[in-house]
């Protein structure tokens, strides 16, 4: 199969999945306990007011028609309106996505930056004490409840030693946010040479990034170690050894690229998790990102916001998968031409 046909096929599958996702999200909101009208109308609303709202929100129409309207709206980028913020969900999510992205990328870089070398190191010293130690680290990191770790870090570094800034958001109140360029505070403050802001933003990032990266480090360590071991145990490494290539050359020329192919998948999964799944950490650190938004929407029964969040997260996830697959295909010639 040619590459372009492969991509087209994958895209078609992705489109089907996305349609399914939209329908699932639509149905989810119908099943959530409580009634969106009640939430909008408030505790003491009369039936008349609610009926009026119901018509206004189009909820009196038959379900398939509502679904059609919903799909139409979603395709036009209209995700509805948040009852809590009063803004369109699109605006809200647009604002929070970069916030989450900053935390996610930072954690990914830290976790990958530490986890991958550790995993590779462990594989290279397979069976040694150091290998065992690194494996233990990975096992502990995978077993740590992320919400608990966040709390412990806050207790130690903020409440007890007062080293870290208050675990509230991205910046201290008295610090001006930088001019928006990339929407990433750290990058923007660096680009605008705003050191105070940079330091403050970095300070706020430290604890949540540690929390997240400890937890997502495990897959990096494990995957790097396993795939490195697999590669090292593979016939072509033995063959390369038999040719007199040094370990360094072999690792650089033969092993790393093969390991990276595996790690790409892990990175995709981890990034997806970080972008979408860190509801817990964002809640604990009041990090004004997607997860925190979703959490507030969920407890506040902000239906459009929940729908919007779930949808956006699923779309990100699906596309991340798609791009990981694509990158995989581009790197590994076996898949490309299989």
């Amino acid at each position: 199969m040619s590459l372009s046909r492969y991509i087209l096929r994958r895209l078609a599958l992705t489109a089907i999945t996305l349609l399914g996702v939209i329908i699932a999200v639509f149905l989810m909101a119908r099943v959530l306990p409580g009634d969106p009208v009640t939430v909008k109308a408030g505790q003491y609303a009369t039936p008349e007011i609610k009926e009026q709202l119901r018509i206004q929100m189009g909820l009196d129409k038959p379900l398939p028609q509502q679904l059609a309207t919903y799909i139409g709206n979603v395709l036009q980028g209209d995700l509805g309106q948040s009852t809590r913020s009063g803004h369109t969900v699109r605006e809200d999510i647009g604002q929070r996505l970069p916030v989450t992205l900053e935390l996610a990328l930072a954690s990914l870089i830290v976790a990958g930056g530490i986890g991958i070398p550790l995993g590779i190191y462990a594989a290279l010293h397979h069976g040694s004490k150091r290998d065992a130690g690194i494996q233990q680290l990975a096992i502990f990191s995978a077993a740590t409840p992320v919400f608990w770790l966040g709390l412990v870090l806050i207790y130690l570094f903020y409440a007890r030693w007062n080293i870290a800034p208050a675990p509230v958001g991205q910046l201290s109140t008295n610090v001006e946010p930088p001019r928006t360029i990339t929407h990433l505070l750290l990058v923007d403050s660096l680009l605008t040479l705003n050191w105070t802001t940079f330091k403050d933003a970095a300070g706020h990032l430290i604890l949540p990034v540690i929390t997240l990266s400890v937890v997502v480090m495990s897959p990096f360590i494990k995957m790097a170690r396993t795939s490195m071991l697999n590669v090292l145990g593979s016939d072509y490494i033995t063959a390369a050894r038999s040719l007199g290539l040094s370990d360094r050359e072999i690792i650089r020329q033969d092993a790393l690229k093969n390991v990276m192919v595996q790690l790409l998948t892990v990175s995709g999964i981890v990034l997806g998790y970080l972008l979408a799944g860190n509801v817990l950490v964002e809640t604990i650190f009041a990090w004004p990102g997607l997860g925190f938004y979703a959490w507030n929407a969920l407890t506040g029964s902000d239906y459009d916001a929940i729908q919007g969040f779930v949808l956006v997260v699923a779309v990100i996830y699906v596309f991340l998968n798609f791009f990981v697959d694509l990158a995989y295909t581009l790197i590994d010639p076996r898949i490309r031409l299989a």
Partner: protein
């Protein structure tokens, strides 16, 4: 020329162990094995699956995969003990003085690297060539191993090659190393009969051309008979018999060897070999008492506690593994 008397490769009392997964005890897969390969000699190492022949071959280039390890013994390449070498010395042996062809050529090539790069890097590394020269040399070498479109093959990835083609590439890589000793580990397993013939023809041709020593590992006695001068037979980690090829086929001593030779199916003969009739063979050991040899089934032998088996020379250049006993017990096979 005293050097001529020294064998190119001498394996002395080699034992290789793999740990038991449960308790970590080392389990020998090769034990107390000794044999030599002389210059310009083709030696066959034969045995059925699990006999330890591949592990023996791997250990020669110190390629035993951890957690397996050489427990004991020496591997002398032209007098230098490979097991005692440091990394730098070792790298000068590998791909230079000795090289190896592996069982599955397609998995022995890096799937993410083009053939041209994989062959070319031998030239840049071992011969210190410039990249461009290495490229030219690569094409030349591919042509030499009988690859029709060397440029196209050089640009392809391993998965795009057939098994036979991949094995030709492996051979090209070995040739690029220009070794004194070539170890070929089942180089035609998994290939079609007609392709096998091609590959053997190529290997033989190259051996005759370069006069390198060849250690050929195979389970196929037919191949041994066609290619080798001397044969080493392994069974369950032990070398049980070493003999010149003609002697081995004409006059095998060890019961295992006899059974192997006896079970050869020949397309030119209609009758089944008599030695092989009946049921599956029970494991058998050889007892030697005085000058009498006796095959004994393991079951009956086990009850008699005997010392370790040793290689006994039954004729010049013909050795066999036997357990020394006072007097051979009753025959079984």
């Amino acid at each position: 020329m005293t050097e001529m008397h020294r064998p190119l490769l001498a394996i002395e009392h080699l034992s290789i162990g793999f740990p038991n997964e449960r308790d970590g005890t080392m389990h020998p897969v090769v034990r107390d094995s000794s044999f030599v390969v002389n210059r310009n000699e083709v030696v066959g190492l034969v045995g059925e699956s699990g006999s330890g022949k591949t592990q023996t071959a791997m250990s020669v280039l110190r390629l035993t995969k951890p957690p397996g390890q050489v427990l004991h013994g020496r591997i002398l390449l032209d007098g230098d003990d490979i097991l005692q070498m440091n990394d730098i010395q070792l790298r000068q042996v590998r791909g230079n003085r000795a090289a190896m062809i592996f069982q599955s050529p397609r998995t022995s090539l890096n799937p993410l690297m083009t053939i041209g790069n994989q062959v070319g890097r031998i030239y840049t590394r071992q011969r210190g060539m410039k990249k461009k020269d290495a490229g030219d040399a690569t094409l030349e070498m591919l042509r030499r191993v009988g690859i029709a479109g060397p440029a196209r093959v050089a640009a392809s990835y391993p998965h795009q090659l057939s098994g036979g083609m991949a094995q030709r590439v492996m051979i090209a890589m070995m040739l690029a190393c220009d070794p004194e000793l070539l170890i070929a580990d089942e180089p035609t397993t998994g290939l079609d009969v007609t392709i096998q013939a091609q590959i053997f023809e190529l290997i033989q041709e190259i051996q005759q051309e370069t006069h390198m020593a060849l250690l050929l590992i195979t389970h196929d006695l037919g191949v041994i008979a066609e290619v080798c001068q001397r044969v080493v037979v392994m069974q369950l980690g032990r070398i049980v018999e070493i003999a010149p090829v003609d002697t081995l086929f004409a006059d095998p001593v060890h019961p295992y060897t006899r059974r192997l030779v006896g079970s050869i199916l020949r397309p030119d003969l209609e009758v089944l070999p008599a030695a092989a009739r009946g049921n599956d063979f029970p494991p058998v050991v050889l007892e030697v008492g005085g000058d009498r040899y006796q095959a004994v089934s393991v079951d009956s032998w086990r009850s008699v506690n005997v010392g370790r088996p040793e290689m006994v020379e039954v004729a010049p250049g013909h050795q066999v593994l036997a357990h020394a006993v006072d007097a051979p017990s009753e025959a079984v096979a």
